[in-house]
């Protein structure tokens, strides 16, 4: 079963001039998201699988090389999970 990626709900989200800052009180850190990470964070307002995220970015950036785009998004997702900004969970079965 594909795993869902979702925002870490424990982070306090602050927006300034359209940029996103995430305050991790427990981890004692403040994250500033760059443009791509911000777009990804907003996309995951609704949890999605990695495949769905990549497909959405392909739709948003059709001029980008698909192979490079996929690789970049996978790398970014991995970083965001490692830093605790995103979490993974099992997809819930439909009601």
């Amino acid at each position: 079963m594909a795993r869902l990626l979702r925002q870490n709900e424990w982070l306090d989200v602050r927006q300034l001039e359209g940029q996103i800052f995430l305050i991790d009180e427990e981890g004692g850190r403040i994250h500033h998201l760059n443009e791509t990470a911000s777009a990804l964070w907003r996309l995951l307002d609704t949890p999605a699988t990695r495949k769905e995220v990549v497909a959405e970015f392909r739709f948003l950036f059709p001029e980008e090389d698909p192979v490079r785009l996929k690789s970049a998004i996978k790398g970014l997702l991995r970083d965001l999970v490692e830093t605790g900004i995103l979490k993974k969970s099992e997809r819930q079965p439909p009601d």
Partner: protein
């Protein structure tokens, strides 16, 4: 003449200014004297009384190398497994941990990695990344008669707007950039303090470097954007998000709540002008700051 073995000399217990803890220097007089040489406005005194609490750091020497022992402050990154042999390296490393110690002692302050200069009655601070030329720029401003507050770290009281001078000599990387003025170069040569081939502490006079404990309000936050290509120095508006991101990146008061840090920095930005200084020539950059904020040194 009687030779006294250093083994028989007692360790020196030293108080630095208002800090509650002590530092022990065991057979490390050179390190102590070297460190004292970079401080300005500090009351450094030795104590001999027994029953004092354990020192926060114990310096000693083994095989000619400085050793670090502390339960509260980790050794500098390069001290493992063997400490440095040269006094300059020991002082520079202690300098950085000294600032961490400050953050432990004063929990009512947060610390920004930045340079700061008093220009026209208030502080212009430069919260820039490494190798942006902060130390060279503040030296250039000192040459124009403005007082340096720091070239590295500025403590700021929570809920306030005043920066506190740490009274630590600026440290310049060597060799100096090729495009600095002959005056600047001569000044550095004349005032060079503790140094090695890579860096030098510069002996600024009291009028040129604020003593420890001096405070002044922050009036402008200026991000440095140094260009390798020749550009005329100019101040541009800086966005709040860009400035905040840079300041957060440069903050190291990790004992404080990140929410508190975020709110303090936001408030600081509300009270200060936010600018980006684009430059390639440090003399022009200093002139631009002086003309914008100076109004006479």
């Amino acid at each position: 003449m009687v030779a006294i073995s250093s083994d028989t000399l007692p360790a020196r217990l030293v108080h630095f200014g208002p800090y509650a803890s002590l530092v022990e220097f065991d057979d490390c007089d050179d390190l102590l004297e070297g460190f004292k040489s970079i401080l300005r406005g500090w009351h450094v005194r030795e104590v001999s009384e027994q029953g004092t609490p354990p020192p926060i750091i114990r310096f000693s020497k083994r095989d000619g190398r400085f050793q670090w022992q502390s339960e509260r402050l980790p050794p500098p990154d390069d001290w493992s497994p063997r400490g440095p042999r040269k006094v300059m390296d020991g002082v520079a490393d202690f300098h950085y941990r000294f600032l961490d110690w400050h953050a432990l002692e004063f929990t009512n302050q947060f610390c920004l990695h930045c340079a700061a200069v008093r220009v026209g009655g208030g502080l212009v601070i430069f919260p820039s990344g490494k190798k942006a030329g902060k130390s060279t720029l503040v030296t250039e401003l000192a040459l124009r008669g403005y007082q340096i507050f720091c070239d590295d770290v500025l403590p700021i009281e929570l809920g306030g707007n005043d920066g506190l001078a740490m009274g630590i000599l600026p440290r310049l990387r060597l060799p100096l950039p090729e495009n600095i003025s002959p005056d600047h170069s001569r000044f550095v040569d004349r005032r060079m303090g503790l140094a090695d081939r890579y860096a030098a502490y510069i002996n600024f006079r009291p009028s040129e470097l604020a003593a420890f404990g001096t405070t002044a309000p922050i009036r402008a936050i200026v991000l440095l954007r140094r260009s390798d290509a020749p550009v005329s120095a100019r101040l541009l508006p800086a966005g709040r998000a860009e400035t905040l991101a840079r300041m957060i990146d440069q903050n190291f008061a990790t004992h404080l709540s990140p929410t508190l840090i975020f709110d303090e920095m936001s408030a600081l930005m509300d009270r200060a002008e936010l600018r980006t200084l684009e430059f390639s020539d440090v003399g022009q950059a200093a002139q631009c700051i002086a003309e914008t904020y100076g109004g006479g040194a």
